[in-house]
């Protein structure tokens, strides 16, 4: 990872000094071991701030929504999941490919600080390093080695596109693709009866504090003004109560249908651990089964299944004989 970080800094300095771009979006290290924050760099001398470690999880693509209008060209770094999000923004015509200079960073998984904490490894932890499939937890006076996948984000374990699908310049070698089955949780839910499922989701949504973090982080949520913020018409009541929470999450899930790139960011940022991945993946699974496999964000030129009509489209709702 260090090699790639060095390349990152060198390339950032290069594209800034050559004038190819007037802004670089990357990550910088925060004060604590788990903090890697987005950073905006306009001066090549500051390229040394850039970092690439096991905690560079924020997707930088959405910053383009605000920045790209004013800038000539912006350079930024994408992991596999970030690239899918960028393509979705392209499909929604919210970013301009020409204005982005994309460095691809193949990613074999990032570490979930919560898993580290749960394992009790966080006290006095200075940093985490990776060599091959092994993590080294570095403390003041000792080190601890473990198998890396134990501490990866769940979303990384099921990642199907670790190598960015869109880029101008590749940093490092592509990594092997070896995802775990992603629909396990969905299938488990599908196996339950309607009442049990309903209760399950009520339990989840009752926790929601409507911080909208899931929406704000989502690369498929890019409206100029979100309907949940509108006052006229007021689709969503302001009170944080179960029915409004349900309305919010279900409506958002439908807005994501056929557009969710399954980057898992919504579930990651949720402060109350609502399993939004299951909600999104249920729709992905249904769409795959009804209209054939479709991965949002892979090819922005492909027409998404839910905005097309084929005479042969299944119409189970028309043929059902009633309940």
């Amino acid at each position: 990872m260090k090699e790639i970080m060095q390349k990152m800094r060198a390339e950032a300095a290069r594209v800034l000094s050559s004038g190819e771009v007037d802004l670089v979006l990357g990550w910088e290290k925060g004060d604590l071991w788990w903090q890697s924050y987005p950073v905006f760099i306009e001066n090549e001398k500051k390229a040394e701030l850039l970092t690439w470690d096991l905690f560079c999880v924020p997707n930088l693509a959405k910053y383009l929504l605000e920045e790209i209008w004013h800038k000539k060209r912006v350079a930024l770094f994408f992991k596999g999941c970030d690239a899918l999000g960028f393509n979705q923004l392209m499909q929604d015509k919210r970013v301009d490919r020409e204005k982005a200079f994309i460095f691809a960073v193949p990613c074999s998984g990032l570490v979930d600080p919560q898993k580290v904490e749960r394992a009790g490894l966080h006290q006095g932890l200075l940093r985490v390093e990776r060599l091959g499939d092994e993590l080294t937890f570095v403390y003041k006076d000792r080190e601890k080695k473990t198998a890396a996948p134990w501490f990866y984000y769940d979303k990384c374990l099921t990642c199907r596109y670790p190598n960015p699908v869109v880029f101008d310049f590749m940093l490092g070698e592509p990594v092997p693709v070896n995802p775990r089955e992603r629909f396990t949780a969905v299938k488990e839910l599908e196996g339950q009866n309607v009442d049990a499922r309903f209760q399950y989701w009520q339990r989840q949504f009752s926790r929601c504090i409507r911080c909208f973090a899931c929406r704000n982080v989502c690369p498929a949520c890019s409206c100029r003004e979100c309907i949940f913020d509108l006052t006229s018409p007021r689709w969503l009541g302001k009170a944080t109560e179960l029915s409004e929470n349900q309305f919010y999450h279900i409506t958002r899930a439908f807005h994501m249908a056929g557009r969710c790139v399954d980057c898992g960011e919504c579930a990651r940022v949720c402060p109350v651990q609502i399993p939004l991945t299951s909600l999104n993946r249920k729709l992905i699974k249904d769409i795959d089964e009804l209209y054939g496999p479709y991965d949002a964000g892979v090819d922005p030129q492909k027409v998404p299944p839910l905005v097309t009509f084929n005479p042969g489209d299944p119409a189970a709702f028309l043929e059902s004989k009633g309940v």
Partner: protein
């Protein structure tokens, strides 16, 4: 505050018997913004409308809610009433308390509660209504008729006579359609071709009619008054301008193919005219079966043609034309026989369809109309006719009655006896249906004068036995099994729409029923109009019917088209989509889902923090938009709003019902 008037109709007892009008009035008076609530026994009547107009003026009403029948019935009526009292017609809302309430409920208390809820919903929507103004647009004064059978020919002639240009598109090389294949017509037994061919010639000769045979409609865009249609004129491989119709080419052509016109009972050449009276009398090369096109050999037709009209190089021509009105008259097919194994169709040449019987008995058909058995060219003695093959058969065929089979089978029995006086007709039937002028008399003649034996029952099996066909059936009147040694079995097959009717309906944007017959706008009051403005229906594409009904319907469809073309301009429905550009993110999902191609993108330049910035937004073509609302549903930020059915209004309705 709004000044909303609520008018509750009794519809005689239709509504009043199931809904307590007094309670409804009392409740309505309490609804927000309502300043008047009143009733009338028939709100659509002269007195009802006078009441509405008077109240609008006296009470200074600014919105009107009519609680009555479906808006499809009288919305227009009440909009006109409101307009007559000076109110914008789009400030009228209908609460459908008949079809949606009184007609479907028995419990008066519950129905009353529901009627109140429906009215509260309409009041909530009305409060947010805005006056809308329709736009005027120019009508293209040209009509398209799709299908060159008797329906299409009649419609084209009628429209042309009214002085408008008509393009008559026919898929096969000649107009004439099914009627040209028929021998005699019931109940008068006049010759089908003799009465049809003069009309075919008239159509070809009419200065206002442009025949496009061997052509198919490929794409339909636009809207009433301004349809834009792409027609593919398939390569005839014969230059129509040079051809004299001498027929030397098909005399000499060595390739033989089963004739579609003769239902496969005779052969035609690869270069052919489908039948002697074809209009236009210009041959076509069937490229799939022509030796020149398959093997690059032969070319005899080209060599012998004295006019040098044969042109192998000809290619399809795409014609793009604008039309104000379209008449759809695509006719029928017979049901496929694969599922009716017991009749043995296809397994023995003497088991035929009634359409094949028409060709066998026709003087221009195979065998010169001698009506001989296809297997050995001998005259048939016993002929079994089977009614309702695929009709009135819910389980395997079609549930509907094909309507004409009873009559044409009676005709066949008569024709059989005329050709072969010693022959005997046996007719298996479920019921004999002879509703029509002189129909019953004709049927009686078949039974009494022509001695057709009618057996009420079904045929269980037909199988060959020697040079005969054994027909096993049952006569339910005598409750006896019947076995007949037949020489010929004629199956009266169910009528279905053309096999590709579904695709055409989709292309045209008209509705079709479960069997793919095109659906009329109203079964009683708008029987020749489709649900799509400017598209009219004629003939069997809409449902089984006989020739006089088809001709009448074609005339009616033509009259509707003429009334449309007669107008210089039309008013557009102002209930179309509108874009809130401040909300639109330019993702253009709306453009992708719009079935009318009414949405395009448009660059917008705006100032953001002192800087100019350009972004894309959606734009709606008001003339193309049909107000279906697909865009509104697809629009995530809610930037697409259907005027007259805005998001605010729909939410207000939901709140009025649920809160």
């Amino acid at each position: 505050m709004r000044r909303i008037g609520v008018f509750i109709c009794w519809c005689g007892t239709n509504i009043a018997a199931t809904v307590d009008i007094e309670t409804v009035i009392k409740e309505a008076r309490e609804m927000p913004g309502v300043v008047y609530a009143g009733d009338n026994k028939y709100m659509c009547s002269e007195t009802g409308q006078t009441q509405i107009k008077g109240t609008i003026v006296q009470q200074k009403l600014d919105r009107v809610v009519i609680a009555s029948c479906s808006p499809r019935m009288h919305e227009l009526t009440f909009r006109k009433t409101a307009a007559a009292a000076g109110l914008n017609p789009y400030l009228v809302e209908i609460a459908n308390v008949r079809e949606h309430c009184s007609w479907v409920h028995k419990d008066k208390d519950a129905a009353t509660v529901k009627a109140v809820a429906l009215i509260r919903t309409a009041v909530a929507k009305a409060a947010l209504d805005t006056g809308l103004e329709p736009q005027e647009f120019v009508v293209t004064r040209r009509a398209l008729v799709i299908g060159g059978g008797i329906a299409g020919i009649q419609a084209a002639l009628d429209i042309a006579e009214a002085g408008y240009a008509v393009d008559l598109v026919e898929r096969t090389p000649s107009i004439g359609g099914r009627m040209a294949q028929l021998d005699k017509t019931f109940p008068t037994l006049d010759c089908s071709a003799c009465i049809l061919t003069p009309k075919m010639v008239d159509a070809a000769a009419h200065p206002n009619i442009n025949l496009l045979t061997y052509s198919e409609v490929e794409e339909v865009e636009g809207y009433v008054g301004n349809f834009e249609v792409t027609i593919r004129q398939k390569a005839r491989s014969v230059d129509a301008a040079k051809c004299t119709g001498c027929g030397l080419c098909f005399e000499k052509c060595p390739s033989k193919v089963k004739s579609e016109f003769d239902e496969g009972l005779a052969l035609r050449k690869a270069i052919y005219v489908p039948f002697p009276q074809a209009v236009p009398n210009i041959p076509v090369i069937d490229r799939d079966h022509c030796r020149w096109f398959s093997k690059k050999k032969c070319g005899v037709c080209k060599k012998v043609c004295p006019a040098s009209a044969v042109d192998f190089e000809q290619s399809d021509v795409l014609i793009k034309q604008k039309y104000g009105a379209i008449v759809v008259a695509t006719g029928f097919d017979l049901i496929g026989f694969e599922i009716f194994g017991e009749f043995g169709y296809g397994k023995h040449p003497d088991i035929i369809t009634s359409m094949e019987f028409e060709r066998l008995v026709n003087a221009s058909g195979p065998g010169g109309g001698k009506l001989l058995k296809p297997s050995n060219q001998q005259p048939p003695k016993n002929v079994v006719f089977v009614h309702c093959v695929g009709s009135r058969d819910k389980s395997r065929g079609k549930p509907y009655c094909s309507k004409i089979c009873c009559m044409y089978t009676a005709k066949h029995a008569v024709l059989l006896k005329e050709k072969h006086p010693e022959a005997q007709a046996y007719v298996f039937y479920i019921d004999v249906r002879t509703a029509g002028k002189d129909f019953e008399e004709f049927h009686r003649r078949a039974v009494e004068e022509y001695a057709a034996v009618y057996l009420r029952g079904l045929v269980g099996k037909v199988f060959p036995s020697g040079d005969k066909l054994l027909v096993n059936g049952v006569d339910t009147l005598s409750n006896q099994a019947v076995e007949i040694e037949a020489d010929l079995v004629v199956l009266a097959a169910a009528l279905t729409p053309r096999h590709d009717a579904e695709g055409l309906a989709r292309m045209l944007g008209i509705g079709s029923d479960a069997h793919n017959f095109f659906v009329e706008a109203h079964p009683k009051l708008r029987p020749v109009e489709s649900h799509t403005a400017g598209l009219f229906l004629a003939g069997t594409c809409q449902g089984p019917r006989d020739i006089p009904e088809t001709v009448a319907q074609a005339g009616a469809a033509a009259a509707k088209a003429i009334a449309l073309l007669n107008k210089e301009t039309l008013l557009s429905d102002p209930c179309v989509s509108a874009v809130d550009e401040s909300l639109c993110t330019g993702c253009l999902a709306c453009l992708k889902v719009c079935p009318y191609k009414a949405i395009s993108d448009k660059p917008l330049t705006e100032k953001v923090h002192g800087r100019q910035r350009r972004r894309l937004v959606a734009e709606v073509n008001k003339a193309l938009c049909q107000g279906c609302g697909a865009c509104s549903a697809a629009c995530r930020p809610g930037a697409m709003n259907l005027l007259g059915f805005s998001n605010e209004q729909l939410l207000a309705e939901v709140d009025a019902i649920c809160l």
